[in-house]
Symmetry: C2
Subunit: 490 residues, 2 copies
């Protein structure tokens, strides 16, 4: 192996960092808590963005762009919202530097802003302040807008992709004439996220709603998709919020309805971020490197030639050119790595590390026998396959791999949803097995907080497809009508 | 007309603002100097971005993402660079707000950053600080990276799209083993921009290099494309900088070359921004609204039905469905506007305002005669055309319109490059005719500065295809070997 990776069993957290850094996804930066997304990691994000963007447009949304800065007074207009974001935000106070007498660059005290600007942690406030001018009548509704942007939250403890001070995301912000329409939109976008996670990222998710304590600051209801990582910790992979009329009231956004009466507008917002890349890595990868699902792998197939001398190389080149042309025609993202800087063994390790789903090795003897060696990244199996019809076989194989990754993650997830009926059992399961613990809860934030303090587990969600079941709260013994999913989480 | 637009002859500046606002491209925001890019304007930017991004990738570049924030000390490392950007920048000094005793949100004085962060005005410094870790050997070169991002420059006087405190752009940052390679890259990217401007935006440009006074802060040479607006003012539409080893030296980025000797890396950077949208608007539009070149118009064809009653409507719908299917198959971006909120006359005015290149009106009588009315936005001409074969005709027409817009802009531009041999003639031409004035200049920044003070005209560029010609400077009478292009500029 060209690059050492810590084993998962040894140090899961270090394994994750190794993969991100050595897989070429991201790098630390000189700015506290901010990362550099390297080309391979950004390619992954571009692929995810393109799929999601197409889904947003299919469901009637348009992209727009709102200012990076939010006046301090805007944040304060929605009481819960400001409490959620004011304590971890980047504040712009000045607009000029100057040289001090010693020639050192310092902030120019004469260039103080009248009102401080907050670098957006999320854009509800600046957007609803704008919607005020855009919405007058029911004819202006629904207003279905999405923004791809960078946001900043001054997190104290950061992790590459999972929790960074600056991250990239999309935030949808929609306005509706009725609560019903807004709720339907919230649920529709949750389903868009779930479909993307399951069918592209091969990541099974639980669709649910958050308990009041875990809601987005300013929302009436937060819907979420929750995924499970290989270490048994949960990860919130996307959220969709029903905001009621809170922001419309805070920014005085009214419309005249069909009966010509004025009413406040109903709102939703929903987002996923570069955090998804962290989830992807932790869900499928192994001790040899990244394992990427074919549908979003920046590179799906790599072909490595094995030869001695120009004559052999020329023959292999000719065959590979045919094959890559066929694969590209079938929409496969393929690379022929015939660089002579590195030996085949180095290349094998490199593409293994980078999680390319299929590797094809083609040598002079293979060519004589009209076969090639096909290696799957997910199962680490190899087989020799006839060159005739190989492109079709590869296309089918990519689908098999996609499905296999999903099935494997699903089996692991399903095996890690465990009921607990007492707090002792709950704690024991959390420590010994991890995953989601399905337990009764009395419905209060107080109890939720005590369980968190005791176990570090939080309510990840109340599943949407929950069955009603009589029971008693594992902590307080008070009556409960349904189980909810707890987990330790990223 | 549904919306009044100021005539160009009356107030060119107001005409421009009217188009941006009433055409639905952008809106003012609550944040000083920052704009909201509305869906129609953002659609235009997405189209431009997609074309450019494909060109960058074809020429071997990959996208990545670097932090929004730049530590204050980084800016200072390249002496000219800091002078260029330090006086107009957004400075983050704190990372938390708190409630004061009266419950008002204020900056928390205990959350002061150890070192202030600058919101990136451009990313050379943070990127070269990163490249230091990525480049060791000639094998790591060339490093060809591009970033799509938002940047902030605290401009005192702002104009929608043309000059905003925050804007969207792309910035390429490449690293090379030799000066020759870096210069070739700089020129290649200039040509990518020129090709994009001319063949997609229908905007003829002069390719040239900047005089020393107009160079990018920290560059050895700035190449540029300069376009001409309808009011005779020039607009810099893109720049590509040869940075020499300045940033490599400032951030200590060395590589071992093939002879195993250490040398500083050679750099380029290049960018275009949402300013291009301003250029596009001012180059082609007229007193009735936007005029967009088909290749980057978000919507190329709109079809408006004219009918009485459901029976007529159903017949028209059937025909239009056939036509839109054919057009979409040919890759045309088409919309059928059969909304019954607005009358056809209102729709005609709306799509005229929005600059949709081709409008098709189809009425019940047209259908009987097997024809449709085709209106061109650029020439404002209409003709009745047979429905048979109409899709093919429309595809050809879109190309005709693209070419016509370019030819018109080219004729105007060529008619506005005028030689002047004395400062009096220079000033008279600037005032009476505008455009580029081709004049001899003694090559000093001092003279350039005096001419600017006298006339408000700057040297836009020294054209790349310049002919050498003996002459004397229009201001100082000193000898000169070539004419350069002066203009008043945006």
């Amino acid at each position: 192996m060209s690059k050492e990776i810590t084993a998962r069993s040894e140090d899961y957290s270090q394994w994750y960092n190794d993969l991100i850094l050595k897989g070429g996804l991201a790098d630390y930066s000189a700015v506290r808590g901010c990362m550099v997304i390297k080309p391979y990691g950004f390619g992954l994000w571009e692929g995810m963005r393109d799929v999601l963007d197409a889904k947003f447009k299919e469901t009637g949304h348009q992209n727009a762009y709102f200012p990076l800065f939010i006046p301090k007074s805007f944040l304060s207009k929605e009481a819960e919202h400001v409490d959620g974001f004011a304590t971890e935000c980047a504040v712009v106070t000045h607009h000029r530097l100057m040289k001090d007498p010693e020639g050192k660059m310092v902030v120019d005290p004469s260039a103080k802003l009248e009102e401080e600007l907050i670098v957006r942690p999320t854009s509800e406030t600046i957007i609803w302040n704008t919607y005020k001018d855009w919405i007058q009548s029911y004819r202006d509704l629904p207003l279905l807008i999405n923004q791809w942007a960078n946001v900043v939250r001054w997190e104290m403890r950061t992790r590459l992709f999972l929790r960074t001070a600056e991250f990239l995301w999309q935030e949808g912000h929609t306005a509706h004439a009725t609560a019903e329409e807004a709720i339907a939109e919230t649920q529709q976008m949750l389903e868009v996220y779930a479909d993307f996670a399951e069918n592209y990222m091969a990541l099974p998710v639980v669709r649910g709603v958050k308990s009041p304590a875990e809601r987005f600051a300013g929302a009436l209801d937060t819907y979420c998709i929750e995924a499970l990582m290989q270490d048994g910790k949960a990860l919130q992979a996307g959220t969709s919020h029903f905001l009621g009329q809170n922001f419309a009231k805070a920014f005085d956004v009214k419309f005249s309805n069909k009966e010509n009466k004025l009413d406040y507008v109903w709102a939703t917002s929903w987002g996923v971020s570069t955090r998804l890349i962290g989830a992807l890595v932790m869900a499928h990868s192994d001790d040899d490197g990244l394992v990427l699902p074919p549908r979003i792998a920046p590179l799906q197939v790599v072909i490595v030639p094995i030869y001695k001398g120009d004559e052999q190389k020329a023959k292999i080149d000719a065959k590979v050119n045919e094959l890559t042309a066929e694969l590209r025609k079938a929409g496969v993202r393929v690379k022929y790595d015939d660089s002579d800087n590195n030996r085949p063994g180095w290349k094998f390790a490199e593409y293994e590390m980078k999680g390319v789903p299929v590797r094809i090795a083609l040598g002079a003897r293979d060519l004589e026998n009209n076969v090639a060696e096909i290696a799957r990244r997910d199962t680490k199996t190899k087989e020799s396959l006839p060159l005739d019809g190989l492109a079709d076989r590869i296309v089918a194989l990519l689908e098999e791999i996609q499905q296999q990754l999903y099935n494997k993650a699903l089996a692991f997830r399903d095996d890690h949803i465990t009921p607990a009926d007492t707090i002792e059992e709950f704690e024991r399961l959390l420590d010994e097995k991890g995953g989601f613990i399905s337990a009764h809860w009395d419905g209060t934030s107080e109890t939720e907080g005590k369980i968190k303090e005791l176990t570090k587990a939080t309510i990840r969600c109340i599943p949407l497809n929950n069955k009603l079941e009589e029971g008693t709260c594992i902590l307080t013994g008070k009556p409960s009508t349904q189980r909810v999913l707890f987990a330790r989480a990223y």
